[in-house]
């Protein structure tokens, strides 16, 4: 099964991944609503990588009290069932689930052709 | 005579090597030495300037035995 993979030595912290995700999911470039959040910061004289992206581990589905989340070769959230309780976000090991307007927003790999990967300029993000 | 021809910048990818030592006739110019190894600099849009022994020179300047000829690609910057 393919998953998103991240090579930090190629990451330039441009956040184009989040812009692309939001473009196709939200209709505008708004990284705060994206289902991926990768950035780099300087802290205490070191370059830190904050790589929040879905690895399809399924912890969100296990945590969901209303069975709103299904895991196949991608994650899908049934918005009719989702109550926005945030249990999935709490359990997510990559801290990438967003709760907004009482619904959980989780990466669905764009139908197996992730837009974030297409735009990652130095190929730090791959889908393999 | 022997000269070392060095590719810099994108010319390394265009021609597939960083540097090589070549045998050229005595009195060859930079242009002749490059043409002799297949570097058709006039037609190559990425071609910039040449230096010999770390000093910029003209493409028609004469080389000498042991010279180090660098071919630079164009860079854009500021």
């Amino acid at each position: 099964m393919k998953r998103l993979k991240f090579k930090k030595e190629k990451c330039i912290g441009c956040q184009l991944c989040a812009q692309l995700c939001s473009a196709f999911k939200e209709g505008e470039y708004v990284p705060s609503k994206a289902r991926i959040a990768i950035e780099t910061t300087y802290d205490n004289g070191n370059l830190k990588y904050h790589d929040h992206f879905c690895i399809i581990c399924g912890m969100c589905a296990k945590a969901c009290p209303v069975d709103a989340i299904t895991v196949t070769d991608h994650i899908e959230v049934d918005f009719d069932k989702c109550i926005g309780c945030g249990a999935c976000a709490e359990k997510c090991p990559k801290k990438v689930v967003k709760i907004r307007d009482e619904k959980a927003y989780i990466c669905d790999t764009c139908g197996g052709d992730p837009k974030c990967v297409q735009m990652c300029p130095q190929n730090a993000l791959t889908f393999e | 005579m022997k000269v070392t021809i060095v590719m810099r910048g994108t010319l390394r990818k265009v021609y597939g090597y960083d540097e090589q030592v070549v045998e050229v006739p005595e009195g060859s110019t930079c242009a002749q030495a490059l043409e002799a190894i297949g570097v058709h600099y006039k037609e190559e849009p990425k071609f910039g300037f040449v230096s010999v022994n770390n000093m910029r020179c003209m493409i028609d300047d004469e080389l000498h035995d042991g010279d180090y000829l660098k071919a630079f690609s164009k860079v854009f910057g500021g």
Partner: protein, 591 residues
């Protein structure tokens, strides 16, 4: 009525520091239609709002933080921010360009522009969380290095916030002071840090969680996939990721334009001691700005020195131009300048001037070429106005007026020379002379043609007016679109296509050229109103008097008549009078 364009937020935030208030107003879309964004838009607003003759360090000067229509979109290399004001170093207009992520955050906060007016009554910082603006106390930050202050604020607010800050140099109103972002990115030149310091503003902390709408987002984005792969991340531009600006060092050295010992000569046989191969062997990681495709930033640690950099300018000014070949000292100089909040170019040139003054016996500033440890100590002295630092804080123009040595002060209008020797690239002398903010290489970058492309002979005035105009027009529109310098292969076709796609309004290649020309002219018009003319478009005496001894340009000196010839050519192409002033009808056509 001017057509609305997508890509813009159509909103300006105006902050009154004196009254501690703020207001929101629509963007002047008529200005945007003529000047697009970033550089051009900032200068147009400055022309409108800054009365001639104001004190750059007084309450009437304003700081303009300006984005462009591409900012916050995946147009590659579009995420920088223009920071502009009247310059305390030169008295001209000054627009800087800072990297990092602050540009996209200003746009996501909902603003095309943020204008800071007036002055705080005591040290403070402004906190902007989207549309919530607060004025915070900064007594606990004042006096601290920019890095120390940024760390305190970053720990307090978290990585969603971008922080612009000044160091002690800006607090002390040093005319060489800069504004830092993300620790290692600067709005560098012309004393922009002092403008912020004069407003008692230690920092601007900003978060933006909104978005940017463009025309046909799916179609535009799909086209951007192609442009990224074909036109940005390609062999011609990729050296910026691989090497960063260290790549320029060898070409400039061999090309005869790398300055040595305060522009006394060129070409350093020891350049391999501090070149990209050496510096990048200490690289820990890469970093770029918001929406970047290339990632020029090299984060490195060497000994006890650490910085994202050093860029070519800093390598040259703290390296061969200071008689130093120790790479660790170059990086340390970079680090201390960043933390103190000083422009490495101006601070470096002022120290190298002091070195030549001392060595030549004209005035003893207590430092000679090669004394790298002292050079680093002097940075802190300059920032804190301590001892000899108080004299050198004047910058080369005012210091040389006071102590002598005007002939070897490498500056135009009070802004120090970037690290390209004009006797090796004569067009650069013209470019420095006519640049809108004093000696700046980020206007018409002559080495592109005279050295790297070898497309025009370097040691002649012939054709240099047209060359400098073409290069200047290109950069003027490019930086008004807020496209980074390092997307070197962009052209007017791509620019106009992207602007049309993003805004939903048609822009042609001719429009790009027209905007570029207009931006060059509006900068000149601002300066003319401040009293600038041909008399101020100068070249340091050293360049027209002393011949180079070494390198491919050995024997070269620019004859004064050749310099005047280049100026004449340029003025004619611009449609200016031969005294360097602009005809009234030309000025009116810009408004």
């Amino acid at each position: 009525m001017t057509q609305t364009m997508l890509g813009y937020q159509n909103k300006v935030l105006r902050i009154d520091l004196t009254k501690k208030g703020c207001s929101f107003e629509p963007l002047r879309m008529d200005f945007a239609r003529k000047y697009v964004g970033s550089k051009g838009l900032a200068i147009r607003y400055m022309y409108e709002e800054l009365e001639p003759g104001i004190d750059p360090l007084g309450p009437d000067n304003k700081l303009f933080l300006t984005t462009g229509p591409f900012t916050g979109t995946p147009v590659p290399c579009s995420g920088k921010l223009s920071i502009a004001a009247k310059s305390p170093a030169t008295g001209t207009m000054n627009d800087c360009s800072v990297g990092g992520h602050v540009g996209v955050r200003v746009k996501y906060a909902g603003y095309d522009m943020i204008i800071f007016e007036g002055q705080l009554d005591k040290p403070g910082y402004v906190l902007i969380d989207n549309d919530k603006i607060r004025f915070m106390d900064a007594e606990h930050l004042w006096g601290k290095g920019s890095h120390e202050a940024e760390k305190i604020l970053a720990d307090q607010y978290g990585p969603e916030y971008s922080i612009l800050s000044i160091g002690p140099a800006g607090e002390n109103l040093n005319i060489m002071s800069c504004i830092n972002c993300d620790y290692y990115r600067q709005a560098g030149r012309g004393g922009i840090g002092a403008v912020m310091g004069s407003k008692n503003m230690k920092a601007i902390v900003i978060r933006g969680t909104g978005g940017v709408k463009v025309n046909d987002i799916e179609g535009t984005t799909k086209r951007l996939f192609e442009i990224l792969r074909n036109d940005v991340v390609n062999d011609d531009n990729q050296f910026i990721f691989d090497d960063g600006t260290t790549a320029f060092l060898e070409a400039c050295n061999d090309g005869g334009i790398l300055p040595v010992n305060n522009f006394s000569d060129t070409t350093d046989e020891k350049w391999t001691e501090y070149n990209g191969e050496v510096l990048n062997s200490y690289r820990q990681g890469k970093r770029g700005c918001g929406s970047c495709g290339l990632g020029c930033g090299n984060f490195l640690k060497i000994g006890n020195a650490i910085c994202e950099g050093p860029e070519y300018e800093t390598i040259a000014v703290a390296g061969p131009n200071a008689g130093n070949r120790d790479p660790e000292k170059i990086v340390k100089f970079n680090e201390v300048c960043d933390n103190m909040g000083l422009d490495t170019i101006s601070c470096g040139d002022t120290i190298t001037w002091a070195m030549e003054m001392t060595e030549s016996g004209r005035h003893d500033f207590g430092i000679k070429f090669g004394e790298a440890d002292k050079m680093i100590e002097y940075v802190e002295k300059i920032a804190k106005l301590e001892g000899v630092g108080a004299d050198l804080a004047l910058g080369t123009k005012k210091a040389s007026e006071k102590f002598g040595g005007e002939d070897i002060a490498m500056q135009v209008k009070g802004l120090e020379y970037p690290q390209y020797e004009p006797r090796g690239s004569w067009g650069m002398a013209l470019s420095y002379a006519v640049s809108d903010r004093g000696a700046c290489h980020m206007r018409a970058y002559a080495p592109n043609e005279e050295v790297f492309a070898a497309s025009i002979p370097p040691y002649t005035p012939e054709g240099k007016g047209q060359m400098v105009y073409n290069l200047g027009e290109f950069n003027a529109i490019k930086f008004s679109l807020c496209i980074c310098d390092f997307w070197g292969t962009i052209d007017y076709a791509i620019m106009s296509e992207l602007l049309t796609r993003v805004t939903g309004v048609e822009w042609t290649e001719q429009d790009m050229a027209d905007v570029g020309r207009r931006v060059l002219n509006i900068g000149r018009a601002f300066n003319q109103r401040e009293g600038f003319n041909r008399a101020h478009d100068t070249v340091p005496k050293k360049i027209v008097r002393d011949a180079l001894q070494n390198g491919p340009a050995a024997g070269q000196v620019i004859p004064p008549e050749a310099f005047e010839d280049m100026l004449n050519q340029y003025y004619e192409i611009m449609g200016w009078n031969q005294d360097g002033t602009m005809p009234d009808e030309l000025v009116k056509s810009l408004l």
